[in-house]
Symmetry: C2
Subunit: 121 residues, 2 copies
């Protein structure tokens, strides 16, 4: 079974990692660097999106709510419903900061910033 | 915050993949090959566990409920609360079969076989 838009629901983490991410204007804004998983709640916490990788050491990552990623087959990448300005002003973290407080610091700030309903209560 | 057992809750998918899996007797039964994610429900569907890899092409994989994996720091791997016999008799799939029916064939059979409460309704 597929979603109404023809997407499949099941996707392996290894296939998600490395996939390009585009903003609403169609600009390639980065790549899925990783997916943060919640061991306790069975939920996907957020996608870890890197912005180009040209920064190397010290690179910052965005925590993007999993549900905000919409795969577009024609582009071979995920579209996020955010503008360039929104993304540039979004909270960003080092790898260490992403897992701080069990990932909740980054997760909570991200869901708040992007105004996505939390999956946790 | 940590779980009662001192585990952390947030874990990156890239760190899960490749981790060893042990059964209740302490035998190394395989490796986490991948993690199947549910795009629609925000849930982790199951861990994809390979059994050694020596089978090469045609290798079968087990779908293990995410919540059944318990990380044991001293071993550097996940313990599953199943015996060798249970695991050997468990449903196993090729990569293609794992994603059949959006992963639900493997997922449903796995949760049923291991008697784990479904996260879906």
């Amino acid at each position: 079974m597929s979603t109404p838009a023809g997407h499949t629901s099941a996707i392996a983490a290894s296939r998600v990692i490395g996939t390009a991410v585009y903003n609403t204007a169609g600009d390639n804004v980065g790549t899925i660097h990783d997916v943060m998983l919640d061991k306790l709640s069975n939920n996907i916490m957020f996608a870890v999106v890197s912005f180009g990788g040209f920064l190397g050491i010290g690179e910052k990552y965005h925590a993007i709510p999993w549900g905000s990623l919409d795969y577009e087959k024609s582009r071979g990448g995920y579209i996020v419903p955010y503008s360039k300005d929104q993304l540039e002003a979004a909270p960003a973290y080092s790898v260490e900061e992403l897992t701080r407080e069990d990932g909740r610091t980054a997760r909570d700030a991200s869901y708040d910033y992007y105004k996505v309903d939390p999956y946790w209560s």
